[in-house]
């Protein structure tokens, strides 16, 4: 929601972008740091969940692969019909 709001404000022509950009770009460059605490939780999961990890692995790999393939083909299809 906040992202949508900031987007709507910044789309409006003004100097606001140059005001927030130094801070926001620094934050984005180091985004990976913010994912570290939660990711460490992977090593502290319960038994019932860890026993399902192999099938979880398969699900994530397959669905991600299929989605990328689906989107590539979809975009190719759209772009060809609007020939650009």
């Amino acid at each position: 929601m906040g992202m949508l709001l900031l987007l709507l404000v910044l789309i409006y022509p003004s100097d606001l972008v140059s005001l927030v950009e130094p801070v926001s770009s620094r934050l984005i460059q180091n985004l990976s740091l913010l994912f570290i605490p939660a990711s460490v939780g992977a090593f502290f999961l319960e038994q019932e969940i860890t026993s399902q990890l192999p099938s979880l692995l398969v699900i994530v790999i397959l669905s991600t692969l299929l989605t990328i393939l689906f989107m590539s083909l979809l975009i190719k299809l759209i772009r060809r019909s609007s020939d650009d």
């Binding site: 913010l34 605490p37 990711s39 460490v40 502290f44 393939l69």
Partner: protein, 239 residues
């Protein structure tokens, strides 16, 4: 409203020296990643997190203590997501001509990602908790955590699944683009954003600012879109 502010302040106040683990783990991860000239399998998170976990086992620190100690980092996820609107807004104007394609791709792609994950989940695992922790896998971490919470899933599991989805995405994406001959950096970026959220976006920004802008757009729009359809979708499939 005031309650939320107090909760957030408490979350930040809980931060303690244990945060050093995260910073050192991240620094080591970044160092190794740069030394390898940005190899996807040496992502800072993949090097940093096992290192931190190993130290925590060694020093007998439990996860909840560590997680709370990182309050300020967890809190920053919110502002960081909002901050992603900045590069997005800079690139949105020249993109308005491409908006129909972007909208169709994000709408179909986001829906496809969630349905695909849930269907495979129903097929391959008997644990309903896994399926409800899996549905939000293509969405950026802060949004995914809120959605998973609403679906009754596990927040530690969703962060890991989101992370892993992102890594799988950046590892396989280039190969799929080669097979389908999708060479346009803009659409590659969009797909990275929709399927691999922030991890894909970090990768896309390394490619070029334009690729990153499209990735940001894909991630942002998919995050907003998924938070609209995911809960009704889960009611259709699981309940």
């Amino acid at each position: 409203m005031i309650d939320i502010l107090f909760q957030q302040w408490e979350q930040i106040q809980n931060s303690s020296w244990l945060i050093i683990f995260s910073v050192i783990g991240f620094a080591v991860g970044i160092f190794m990643y740069r030394r390898s000239a940005g190899h996807a399998l040496l992502h800072p998170l993949l090097i940093g997190t096992p290192l931190i976990a190993a130290f925590m086992y060694w020093l007998k620190i439990d996860f909840d203590t560590y997680y709370q100690a990182n309050g300020i980092l967890n809190w920053l996820l919110g502002p960081a997501t909002v901050a992603l609107a900045v590069p997005l807004s800079k690139h949105l104007k020249p993109l308005s001509r491409l908006l129909p394609t972007i909208m169709i791709a994000v709408t179909c792609g986001g829906l496809f990602a969630a349905i695909c994950a849930v269907m495979l989940g129903l097929w391959l695992t008997p644990e309903p908790l896994i399926i409800s922790s899996l549905a939000a896998k293509s969405v950026t971490t802060p949004i995914a955590m809120i959605l998973t919470d609403q679906l009754g899933g596990l927040y530690t599991l969703i962060t890991v699944i989101v992370l892993f989805t992102g890594i799988v995405g950046i590892v396989v994406a280039q190969r799929i683009f080669d097979i389908t001959k999708l060479q346009d950096e803009r659409w590659q970026g969009l797909i990275l954003g929709v399927t691999s959220h922030a991890i894909g976006t970090v990768k896309a920004f390394e490619k070029s600012p334009r690729c990153g802008a499209f990735s940001t757009l894909g991630m942002g729009l998919n995050g907003i879109w998924t938070s609209f359809f995911l809960i009704p979708l889960m009611h259709v499939f699981v309940l």
